[in-house]
Symmetry: C4
């Protein structure tokens, strides 16, 4: 079973710069949640775009065959840490079809807020 | 009237492991909300994908002709209960076109948070 | 400028049965927000689907040419009031292309929660 | 790398008319978050549609090549300020492909609520 697309975009990237509640569960974060329903591992590269400088990337990771991978942007290994409190966009490319959903937990105020959307499948 | 697709994906699955407020209304949950607008019953199979083990499924259910069916993942009958506090993805296949929307209510903190998105139509 | 589709689906319909805060702004509600960017009025018919009975409709309304129309489901005129605290799905058909976004405000607890998604364009 | 579409729609526009918490971070706002992943600047024009009067626009801005641009509707320069507490829809046209995500932060009550969706790609 192979489902999805190989290029995805999250246009509203932002890691809220403060948090309320126990870490790591309630730590403010942006996540890209990925499904690889296929029978071969997917190699995924993320590039981050900013308002005032050239893109940064690739941030590379593998989503194994038949696996879910929910990746907090906060925790990405790569060329540099993802800055907090800064607007960005995220372009995700995979060598195999995957599906991507973007979710933010914002706990800057005492109670957390959530938002989520299927990312934009671009190709 | 037949609308929708037969394969859908929710990539950000997660049942928050605690709740605040009266059950069942305010119990933290993930839901897949489905419309079968057609004139024949739809047989639906869900498979759940995890980060560190093989997929689990099928979880089988029927969405009758011309009916809405909002299914909490918490309440699924099937091969095994859906674990709480664990990242997953959900692949939904139907033998008739349906439409799927994914919603989470998170009441871990005192006030509830909500998120929702139309799922990804994959075929 | 004509944009959009003529058939749309909201799969997660639910009007929370209680509210906190001043009415009508903070009253718990489901909305279908519609744009008719074209130069002719759009006649729109909504049908509501339930878990345990036949669909109800049409609920009819007009979105004038070059106008926004944000319709709370709570306030629909039609064959019968939309029940609160009940799961439903909503099928929206228009004789002209429109765009539909679904939003819920849930103020059952002291602080409001929001969720929104572009509806599913079905044709 | 060129991704996206040149016409996008946000159907649920609304700037909540009050806020709780430190400005500007927690000021209630609507945002259109845009990625231009291409190698040429994108000239973008927004038109706003209302319930009871003719559309207003264009609001013009540039998303430079390989840049993210998150635009609060509250802060738009243009023919007139975007009214707060008023329902609207937003049509976004670009001379180059972009990707658009719509997000609202609502801090009318003590704790903020969030909602987000990829906008509707209309062409």
């Amino acid at each position: 079973m192979t489902v999805g697309a190989t290029t995805w975009v999250v246009a509203d990237g932002y890691i809220p710069p403060s948090s309320t509640g126990p870490a790591p569960a309630m730590t403010s974060h942006d996540s890209v949640c990925m499904l690889n329903a296929g029978d071969a591992d997917a190699r995924v590269a993320l590039h981050l775009y900013f308002a005032d400088r050239e893109p940064v990337g690739p941030y590379e990771l593998t989503v194994p065959a038949r696996r879910a991978h929910h990746q907090r942007l906060n925790d990405l290994d790569g060329p540099e840490p993802v800055p907090v409190g800064v607007d960005y966009c995220c372009l995700i490319r995979s060598d195999r079809p995957i599906v991507v959903q973007h979710t933010r937990l914002d706990s800057r105020q005492a109670e957390n807020a959530l938002m989520s959307t299927i990312a934009y499948p671009a190709g």
